[in-house]
Assembly symmetry: C2
Homo-oligomer: 209 residues x 2
DNA sequence: TAGATTGTTAATCGATTAACAATC
DNA sequence: TAGATTGTTAATCGATTAACAATC
C-alpha cells in the first residue's frame, strides 16, 4: 500500500537497494527473493518488504522480485528519470575531483556547467563541462533552469553562493563545504560533512580498543 | 549515568555537537543551556540531555553547560585526543583534494603519508605529506603503526587495498570508493558514498515537486 | 497441486519526548 | 531565597521484526 510520507530511514536505504540491484543485474541475476536480497545486504527480509511496500507492489508471491524491473522501479522512485541537471560552484581540487571522477549521469543527473573565480580556469573544459566566471551564474541559471547546485567553494562564501543558487531557482543544494546550511522555503539541502564522517570513524576505532 | 553501548544515532550526532560547540566557543559564548543549544541545532532540549547522559554528567543545575569544557568532553568522547594517525591511498584528484583542503588535524588525526602508483608523484610532497610508491605500503605500516587508511583509489582495487591495510594493522578504513566494504574482524569501515547522497537529494527534490 | 514467497497486519523493540524531583 | 536547569524516570512515538493469510 503506497504511503504518503515515507520516513527518511527508508529513503536512505533506497540508494543502497539501487546499488545492490544494479550489481545483481550486472551479474546476470534475473530474480531474487526478499530473504536472499536481505542476506546479501545485511537486512531482514521483513524490512525489505516493508520498505518496498511504501512505494507499491513490485513482487510476486512464490517468485520474488525481478531484479531488473525492481532496479528500474527504484531508479524511478529516486527521481533518476526526472532529467535533473546540476551546476558546480568551485573548480578547485574537490570540484575537479567530482568533475573528473564522479559519474553524475549514473545518478540520472546531467552536469552542465562549472563556475569559478580563477581567471586561468575560465573558458576551459573539464571532462567536457565548460567553466564560466562566477559573475555569469545568474545569467546562466536564467537561461538554463537547473535542479541542483553543487557547492565545492571555500566555506567562507558558502552562504552567499547558496543564496545566489536559490535565487536562481535551483531546487536542491549538494553542500560539500564545512558550513552547515539548512533547508528552508522549499529548498532541499544535502550536507556532505567529511569531518563528521571521520570523527564517527575515530569514535568507533577508539571505542573498539 | 554512563552507558555501556551507545546507539549509533547518538554517535552520529556527536560530531554535530562538536561543531556547534566549537562555533559557540569561537563566538565567545561561555555557557549554554540544553534548550538554547537545542534551538540552534534544531533538536529538543530533552534529546541533548539524553544524548550527553550516555557519557557522563557535564552540566550543572540552574546554569547549563560550560561551552568550552563540554566541547573538550565531546572531543575526548570522539577519540580526538587518542593520537590517531592516517595514511591515504591514491593521490588522484580526490586524494589531492583531501590532502590539500581537508584539515585532518582538526579532527585529531595526523596524516603521515600518501601512496600512489603514478611514478611522477612519487617523492613529491603534497601539503607537507610525502608520497611513496604503493609497494612500500607494508614496509611503511610496519615501521609506523597507523590507525586509519583512507581509500581514494579506483573502485577496482578497493578490495585488495583494504586487505593490505588491514594486514598492515590499521584499525579503521575511511572508504571513498564506490565499492561497499564491510567491517569484519575488529576493523571499522566508514563508507562515504557520494552517489547515495546525491540520490537521496534527487529523491527529495523530485518528491517536493 | 505443493512449495515458495509476497504484502500486510500485529507484536516488539528502540529512540525520542515529556515530566519532574534534585539542586545549583 | 527564588528561578533556572540539570539528569533521570516514565510516556509516547516510530521503526523494525515476526507472523500469516493470500496467491503465484
Amino acid at each position: 500500500m503506497k504511503k504518503d510520507k515515507v520516513s527518511s530511514a527508508v529513503i536512505r536505504r533506497l540508494p543502497r537497494y539501487y546499488r545492490h540491484l544494479s550489481d545483481l543485474a550486472r551479474q546476470g541475476v534475473v530474480r531474487i527473493s526478499s530473504s536472499a536480497l536481505g542476506k546479501s545486504m545485511h537486512l531482514t527480509a521483513s524490512q525489505i518488504r516493508q520498505d518496498l511496500s511504501c512505494f507499491g507492489e513490485f513482487g510476486q508471491q512464490g517468485y520474488g522480485y525481478n531484479v531488473e524491473s525492481l532496479r528500474k522501479e527504484v531508479a524511478d522512485i529516486l527521481g533518476m528519470n526526472q532529467g535533473h541537471t546540476a551546476v558546480i560552484l568551485g573548480a578547485g581540487n574537490l570540484g575537479r575531483a567530482l568533475l573528473e571522477n564522479f559519474h553524475f549521469d549514473r545518478s540520472g543527473v546531467r552536469l552542465t556547467a562549472a563556475f569559478d573565480v580563477c581567471p586561468e580556469l575560465i573558458g576551459h573544459d573539464i571532462s567536457g563541462v565548460p567553466i564560466y566566471p562566477i559573475e555569469e551564474l545568474e545569467h546562466y541559471l536564467s537561461a538554463h533552469p537547473t535542479s541542483i547546485g553543487v557547492l565545492t567553494v571555500p566555506g567562507s562564501v558558502a552562504g552567499e553562493m547558496s543564496e545566489r543558487l536559490i535565487a536562481g531557482g535551483v531546487k536542491g543544494i549538494w553542500n560539500f563545504t564545512n558550513s552547515e546550511l539548512h533547508a528552508d522555503s522549499g529548498i532541499v539541502v544535502e550536507n556532505v560533512h567529511f569531518a563528521d564522517s571521520l570523527l564517527a570513524l575515530s569514535y568507533f576505532i577508539s571505542e573498539a580498543s
